[in-house]
Amino acid sequence: MASPQMTGAEIVVQALVDQGVDVIFGYPGGAVLPIYDALFKTDKIRHILVRHEQAAAHAAEGYARSTGKPGVFLVTSGPGATNAVTGLADALLDSIPIICLSGQVASHLIGSDAFQEADTVGITRPCTKHNWLVKRPEDLSRIMHEAFYVAKNGRPGPVVVDLPKDIQFAEAPYRGPENIAHKTYVPKLKGDLKAITQVAEMIGKAERPILYTGGGVINSGPAASQLLRELARSTGFPVTSTLMGLGAFPASDKQWLGMLGMHGTVEANYAMHDCDLMICVGARFDDRVTGRIDKFSPGSTKVHIDIDPSSINKTVHVDVPIVGDVAHVLEDLLRVWKAKGRQANKQALARWWQQIDEWRHVKCLEYKPYQDRIRPQQAIQHLYKAVKDKDIYISTEVGQHQMWAAQHFHFEDPNRWMTSGGLGTMGYGFPAAIGAQVAHPKALCIDIAGDASILMNMQEMSTAVQHDLPVKVFILNNGYMGMVRQWQELLHGGRYSHSYTEALPDFVKLAEAYGGKGLRATHPDELDDKIAEMIETPGPVLFDCVVVTEENCYPMIPSGAAHNEMLFGTEKEAHEVSEEGKILV
């Protein structure tokens, strides 16, 4: 059958349809008008009009993280594309598959400093997995399908397809997504069986093992989470996770140690420090996890399962690297382990669990509620209790509230938790929750926010109202950039340089100005009722939860310290941070 002739804009839309895309996020402009015209003529793709291109990118991320499918967004040339850069960088560091379609000035104008011209492929090259400038209309359908392939396969990530306006008008044959075997990019899915067998043997001998899991388990798909649970069950090993991996293993499980890292639990960090076998599954030894690297888990044999060969030995030397997809590797590992008679060192494991239980007794996340003021941990706990049995998707902004959410909100399933881990992007959570809500219209999508972060993409309230997206924004309002203030307290002698927002808006009135609903809680006694009211409200809500201003996020591994040198925020602790530590972020 001859390939049908279409305009470039029609090819873009047809390729999206053929890739199974039914919703995109975007903002129109001069250089993408032909594509918007093609969108006008189709009813197969829903378009969510955002109020800023950064939000389009984060909404696409929220869509992707909550569905496991790639998120797509469309922006115009120049400022449209540069506004999207933060979202692309965010998706790159957190390995989220998103496809950015950007308009570009007409081919003959490229390089002439034309109106709204920017070197989009140049600017986005270091913050995408790959990008393309389409130079010939006949390349367009291949590039569109290749973009999806690259974004989804291997370690997922963001891609950009830059589309000059003349290409959008030009006619070319359309080719479907069939048979697009990639000639160079073919990631390895199966792990090396010899190494896997070696790990199965190590599992049998380990006395103080730990499974250190990350976002790779979630990216690998629901099967990977199931296999992780099976591995944990059949070995009896304790499980911890990075911020990105929360939900891959159920928080209610007795083998769950909580999150590890800078604001992780005592039991998770001490177990990481003292273990003799560390099996890293889809995590990348990020500096937020390792703390001081030359004191990181000094006595352990380290196994690292990762689909990206460049993650292996990047910061921490590992003894057994296994390059492959988490689900594929865990499946093989379980098979070999079972074939070997699944002998774990039960006696040693019992002693290890006894030690872990002692650490658990520290109750590092415990706090005493105040009579008259809301503590942020308490607010999260009340929120958690109210919504935990519902169909929920939780996103966060970045800062103290994000860590409290990670500590006090508990996840049973993957893809329910969306947070900016690698880039630490304030302003991520609200648009991400919008993206999740678009994908799951009936679900309860909540952005746990801070008063500073939420203002970075506050304009998206308008998007939520326009598209009937009943996203709830739960703002832990302490008037400060809380994490900045906390670091100034610990590292800079309490000189709170510009971390106090003197002129916060009235969030209740702000919500109303946008056509949403505003709620405020200032006293612990009114928390539950107000949270219930928020849940029952059919539209978008800004919940201004006024919390104590001076609260710090603990426990904490200060910069330049090891896993076993945690701070708990007690009065008698000296906040000694080394000179080396001070220069770390």
Binding site: K129, V150, I293
Partner: protein
């Protein structure tokens, strides 16, 4: 990390086969600058005109851990077909070409010509007061020649950077 600081810097010559598409060199160079890796020399040219593939030869220095990182990072770039470490995976030959302009008269001019013969350099342009020598060899040989020319009126050097290939019958 103290162990890392003390680790020795190694010099490696890497060859990467890449699709000769727009921006591929920028991707490679951006990777090196963005991640703080060293480039001692970089050469690139299309080696298969039908398949539109280019070969990039990069000489870099770093600790063994960094060298492994560089190879892994290069390997995951989408248009990269293959990365080979010619320093460890092969017994390999490195060559570089240089064009060296020497200006002078009298005794110095004679001496530069005499030395060029010892290095098997060719004179490819001459005036009454200048020579341009063409010289091929290992980078160290070119360094040596350039140093010898310095007191004899060296005014300009243009070097290609290293190209390299593994010895023997097998391909990369």
């Amino acid at each position: 990390m103290s162990i890392m600081k003390e680790e020795i810097q190694e010099r490696h010559c890497l060859a990467a086969l890449v699709d000769n598409e727009a921006g591929v060199l920028a991707r490679v160079i951006g990777l090196f600058s963005g991640r703080g890796y060293n480039i001692e020399s970089l050469t690139v040219a299309e080696v298969d005109h039908e398949g539109h593939t280019s070969r990039i030869t990069i000489v870099t220095t770093g600790t063994p851990m960094i060298i492994e990182q560089i190879k892994a990072q290069l390997g995951r770039l989408v248009p990269v077909h293959k990365v080979v470490d010619l320093t460890v995976e092969h017994d390999s030959i490195e060559r570089e070409m240089a064009l060296v302009k020497v200006v002078g008269t009298g005794e110095k001019r004679v001496e530069s010509l005499r030395l060029s013969e010892a290095f098997r350099a060719r004179v490819i342009d001459t005036t009454h007061s200048s020579f341009i020598f063409e010289l091929t060899g290992a980078p160290s040989k070119i360094d040596a020649f350039v140093n010898l020319m310095r007191p004899l009126g060296l005014v300009e050097v243009s070097r290609t950077g290293v190209v390299a290939i593994g010895r023997g019958a097998s391909d990369m």
